[in-house]
């Protein structure tokens, strides 16, 4: 096949042209159309992207498969979002709009006893307000309603649900706040309290990982132009049934993406890290062209907007420091078997104190001279300081920054979490590049929507929802941002030999755009539409 385009951006300095010859799912040759036509007269010319700009398919190195399954439920988030079928769900900008959305969903349900689940509510956008049962009772006094907050640590439920679950004045659980009269207000905080509404809570969490959810995850990736997407720990792949579910879904030609599935030991599977390494090696051997195992993810701390990230300087409101998910003094023992086995290690560190702990433990585990090309990646790395980046550079680590935060929480970081000084140097991509650290940027879907052009826009503009620009000097050029969402991410997944650029010999994974990102410029990146993708030579149309 000879794919003719209106323009190629290969993300490979040595390769240029407007057309690509694709053979057996791989890139055979890149060049000018006439030249390729002459060289490959038998190749069938494919004109479908003759008016489109084609890039290597985007690579998302931090997302979660539940981003697909969660769309089983009604979206009530603050920002506009699109479901796997491409339908636009406008953001709910007030609690009234949340209730309106729920009323529509209530009316659309045939079974009057069916539970109504909703997701995406983030109270940080409604300071001074609180969604409680009384509000939800105005949607329905009969149907159980379960609204899970964006953090997934909290749900608001209505009175009908509390009555069904026997959550009442006698309920003792700490995570069930009560009003002055001693009655629960409808918030269920943290898993133990949410599980008091067991049917509703299990109904929600079990809906997140199943074949339909993985299919939806693939559609979301495709619609965003992503041809390789990570599931950074969603289901315990130690389980054969979970691993088989991935194999069945992703190896189907109709599935529109490659998926790299990481294992997070905190979510089940072997308890001993030697056993974890052995299990992941076993899975890695089962990798296919489209489905990859071999990555391990640790989570050290929480989130900044949830005030649970571990920070060296206190939060603005003087709240307690965040929480650890791994005992710091145990971390070296976790790292050693994974790195020794040659597995890829990605570590979630939102706060800078978490990065301190990781750097100390990494040196303790592998020594000051780590194995060559280990590509251990700090995930999120949002508050990482320059001195820490210097160490990361010296240790050969990579950084995958959560640039979408500028748009989604930038204003809150200035006003509520860490203040202007730290907000200005959050996700400091320029510093990362200046120090020669391999860079990628991500969405952490479902935390923010899958969308590499939006992430690139964020890194190139560092603009908040109200128009603030945070740390202008840390902005990326368009070329750098596009590199981060293609080659940069491919490198961190150790797949840069086969994806991430349009280079002869690599897999024929492309994204077709309706405009040229270099002409659109930094400001216009997020307005560019994805027309379609190609994965291993197979076309996938955006839905």
């Amino acid at each position: 096949m000879l794919l003719r385009t209106a323009g190629l951006h290969t993300i490979d300095p040595g390769t240029a042209g407007d057309s690509v010859v694709v053979t057996d799912g791989h890139i055979d040759r890149v060049g000018a159309f006439d030249e390729l036509r002459a060289a490959k007269p038998d190749a069938v010319v494919d004109h479908r992207y003759a008016d489109a700009i084609v890039l290597p398919g985007f690579v998302e190195a931090h997302s979660h498969a539940m981003a697909g399954g969660i769309w089983t439920h009604v979206y009530v988030g603050y920002f506009d979002n699109r479901d796997p079928d491409g339908k636009l769900w406008p953001g709910c900008r007030s609690l009234d709009e949340v209730l309106d959305r729920l009323r529509e969903a209530d009316a659309a349900l045939d079974d009057p006893a069916a539970t109504l689940w909703a997701w995406g509510l983030d109270p940080i956008y409604f300071p001074g307000e609180r969604l409680v049962a009384e509000h939800l009772d105005r949607v329905s006094e009969h149907r159980p309603i379960f609204v899970i907050h964006a953090s997934l640590h909290l749900a608001t439920v209505n009175t009908a649900l509390m009555e069904k679950a026997e959550i009442n004045a006698d309920t003792l659980a700490e995570g069930v706040p009560k009003d002055g009269a001693g009655n629960p207000i409808g918030e269920l905080q943290e898993p133990a309290a949410m599980m008091l509404a067991k049917d509703a809570a299990m109904g929600f969490f079990l809906s997140l990982m199943n074949p339909e959810g993985i299919e939806a995850f693939g559609k979301l990736a495709r619609n965003a132009g992503i041809t390789t997407v990570v599931d950074l720990g969603s289901g315990p792949i130690a389980s054969d049934s979970v691993a088989d579910m991935w194999q069945q879904a992703v190896n189907d030609d109709a599935f529109p993406a490659r998926v790299s599935v990481f294992h997070n030991p905190g979510q089940g599977g072997p308890a001993n890290l030697d056993d974890v390494a052995e299990m992941v090696l076993m899975r890695r051997a089962q990798s296919t062209d489209k489905l990859r195992f071999g990555g391990v993810k640790f989570v050290l701390d929480g989130s900044i907007q949830g005030f649970t990230a571990r920070v060296t300087e206190p939060y603005l409101d003087g709240k307690d420091n965040g929480l650890w998910l791994v005992p710091p003094s145990q971390l070296a023992d976790w790292i050693r078997p994974v790195v020794d086995a040659g597995l890829l290690l990605h570590v979630h560190c939102n706060g800078d104190e978490a990065v301190d702990v990781l750097l100390e433990a990494f040196v303790e585990a592998v020594g000051a001279t780590p194995p060559a090309d280990h590509r251990t990646t700090v995930q999120h790395s949002q508050l990482t300081r320059r001195d820490q980046y210097e160490q990361m550079a010296a240790l050969g680590m990579c950084a995958n920054l959560f640039s979408n935060h500028f748009w989604y929480w930038g204003d809150q970081h200035v006003e509520a979490t860490v203040g202007a000084e730290r907000a200005n140097r959050m996700n400091s991509a320029r510093t990362v590049l200046d120090l020669g650290i391999p860079l990628s940027i991500h969405s952490d879907a479902s935390v923010t929507p899958l969308g590499s052009l939006h992430v690139a826009w964020c890194a190139a503009n560092r603009q908040t929802a109200t128009g603030r620009v945070l740390g202008a000097d840390e902005r990326l050029e368009v070329a750098e941002a596009l590199h981060a969402v293609t080659m940069g991410a491919a490198h961190q997944l150790r797949m840069d030999d086969e994806i991430g650029s349009i280079t002869a010999g690599k897999r024929a994974d492309f994204v077709a755009l309706d405009a040229d990102p270099f002409e659109a410029g930094a400001e216009g990146l997020r307005d560019i539409q994805v027309v379609g993708t190609m994965v291993g030579g197979l076309h996938h149309l955006v839905g």
């Binding site: 026997e166 006698d170 309920t171 003792l172 659980a173 700490e174 995570g175 943290e190 898993p191 133990a192 309290a193 599980m195 008091l196 067991k198 809570a201 299990m202 315990p236 030991p265 089940g268 599977g269 308890a271 001993n272 571990r310 307690d320 420091n321 929480l323 650890w324 998910l325 791994v326 005992p327 710091p328 003094s329 145990q330 976790w334 104190e353 301190d356 702990v357």
Partner: protein, 293 residues
Amino acid sequence: MNSPRIPLTVIGGYLGAGKTTLINKILTGDHGRRIAVIVNDFGDVSIDEALLAPAAGGMRALANGCVCCTAVDGLATALDEIAALDPPPEHLVIEVSGVGDPWGVAQWGRTPGYELDGVVVVADPLSIRGWTEDRYVGSTVQAQLTAADVVVVSHADDEPGAAAEVAEWLGEAARAPVLVGTDLDLDLLLGHRDGPMAAPQPHADHVALTFTPRAVDRAALRAWLSQAPSTVVRAKGFADTDEGTLAGQRFGHRVEVVRAAMTDPVMTVVCVGTEVRGEVREWCETLAVGLLD
């Protein structure tokens, strides 16, 4: 609501605190109780491999009648599986991770079918003070101590001097009763196995007494429980009130009064030492009908 609930105890403490020793004792001890234990997946010291290697389903029955499992699919699932055991265990113990918040985990004791018995936090005499000042985990370890209903100082046989010294310091830091000793009786930590009706048995480290409380109201029962002398580690029982039977419980300093299924009024008090002190007896007499023996 009326079927018996499984009492739940969480055991917390930082790495090296001695949680595993305590849990090993529960899992292997000749105590005659059917106790289910959910161990932390990534405990710092692995319990005897033969005991712990999780079988399919993550649950393993032990020779002494205990059951051990890891929460492979989350605590909610593990709690379901344990509640479904036939016969059900008499008690559930959950080991909290070294950086876990014991009071947060204790909230699983509010799950239907369970009742929260208490939060036990274990502290190693040689390292606990250092950990509370540690740059990274100081606030985490302090919060664990604050969450404790009782603190157990481990390794007391190896380090008797340090244990005694740190116990005094812990009394301030944790504001909870501090128990020293590696051979603490389970009745002290988990409560009496057959409920409050059981006849008190002689023990080396504690003594119990049982009496019939007079009819009171909720506020009076709560006030009485709140005023326990310092040697009282736990008190648990039922009292008749104008709103029906109430269950009252005190473990460490934490007091709870909740509605209960109708039952005879009876109260059991457990205190440290070899005999019931006068102050405890006087305190009990303010609630008791008739004589105490």
